[in-house]
Amino acid sequence: MIWADQTIQEGLRRGMDNGQINLLLELLQKLPVDVVDCKVADWEKHSLPKLDMSQQKYIRGKINGTLAEVTLADKLGFKNVIITCTPHLGQGLTSTVCTALFTAQRLGMNIGFCIDNASQFSIEELCFLWRDIPIDGIDTFIYGDKESLLDPVAASRILTALLIKIPACLEFHGHNAYGLATGNALAALQVGVKRIAVAVAGIGLQGHAAVEEVIMAQKRLLGDASKETRHLALICSQILSAMGLILPKTKAIIGQDIFAHESGIHVDGVIKNPQMYEAFSPEEVGLTRQLVIGKHSGNASIQAKFRQWNVSMSDNHAQILLKQVRRMAVRQKKQIDDPVLWELYQAIQAKQEG
């Protein structure tokens, strides 16, 4: 399985400089991604240096199907390239794209061929475009869903057919304009596609499948536990923070608060058995479970919270405290912090004793 990263490209697009990109590349290597895709033109635009030997192995240069960009990629040291094109319906490949392909081959580059708008074509039309490629030895055929037109069922049907019909490695590059990217990527994986485009938190122009979601879905929903995930939340948040992005606290898989339980039913369930309201345990991605007290708390959650502080609370006290908590939470429009909760409890005790 090969995950093709699109995070760095978004960093380039956002104008990050050489130092920042290098830091990102370093952080990214801690994630189970295998290749990093960058637009050659953006690499040049931000004056990034020629690739070194190690970078040549895992950085792929995206070329916009022109001879000029192939030459540029060569100058910048790219050995692995993706030649992308956006064909018009009913037409074959343009001579510009064909020239780019010939040149890349002559320069000894390892070539992936990407149809950016593949989802606009039928399977037959895609096979026709594939036969139109003027050179042999294309390593990878990349199916692009630039307009986010696919849903997971269509993706699985189309990619299943292409796996049989196209004699090259099939790669899926989906987008997230309608929130379906992770679902589509997972469907691709399920039907046997071995290369898939992903980005941390799904970032990128028109979005991508989120790497952390696909990896955890592969692990927990499809039962492939080969990837190390214990630092997933930390690494992803470091990458986003290096890009100046704020990770939402409730972002699936990696958000700080996704294991914060507040509602009475949920806290009660999680105390009895965390599986009741957790799809996987927080430790698996390096997060922690929190019991939060607020408007949605119930008696059981208040009692559970105080048990964590070695206080066994009576039903009566819990009920009194719960009323105060709910009123305060609504008034302040937020949950109750631990020290405040403790104060409320002490006030109740003092009153009872007095």
């Binding site: 849903d151 997230n176 929130g179 990770l247 699936a252 898989i253 507040e262 607020g294 009323k323």
Partner: protein
Amino acid sequence: MIMKDARTIEIVDTTLRDGEQSPSIVFSAQDKLNIAKALDKAGVTWIEAGVPVMGEEEQEAMKMILSAGLKANVIAWNRALKNDILSSVSCGFSQLHISVPVSDLHIEQKLKKSREWVLENLKQSILLAQSFGCMVSVGAEDASRGDREYFLQVANIAAELGAVRIRYADTVGCLNPLAVHSIFQELIPRCPLPVEVHMHNDFGLANANTLVALAAGAELASTTIGGIGERAGNAALEEVVTAWQVVYGMKCHVNRTDLPHLGHLVMQAGSKDVFDYKPIIGNAFTDAHANKIA
């Protein structure tokens, strides 16, 4: 993707109930009223407004929404408990959603009861609600980890008693879209009631799972604005509506031009920022400039 007959689905928005259960979000009564009005204006037909049994503060907000003269049907969420139902009724609700767990995990470990007990309890709860003249919809909590035949048993009892629909809840978000496709293809023809799907986003699949279920015949989608909700949240209203219309070429009478305003309203009320890369409402998708840089 465009199919012959453009099927219409309906939204049951639960921003005010499951959405507010998002860690660190508390809406004021006025916030809730404003959001309910905006949902109504956007054409959402079902609004799950809250849980009256939670107490006075919630009841105050519920009464404000119920007396706002909305076109939308306003629903109260209930467990299959007498107190829950009585609180909702005394608040003035005439449409109740009654939720029961249907997985053995939840029935045995949370309720410490049996499947039979749950059925009987549901029956009594529906009858109680109906004795006050209420319309009832039934929720099947943790259906995705439960026995499908038991889900159908619950649906059958609900149908016999006159409930209007059944909610299939993927409570911990553990379904994947292709699994949803095969489950719903089998389930929908056998289910006596219209099915509403309630998908969680623990693996980032809530929206995809919702849409695949709708395409397979579910008739209603439970959503929240911005996808807020327990843990990693729920299927986002704006994504479900937009994808259903654009990707599937189908119908849903929610006005898409209202979606950015709804997103803004909820994020402001919940003191949250929208992630730049959140589809539909995130800056990366709304800022025309961002697209030009490409």
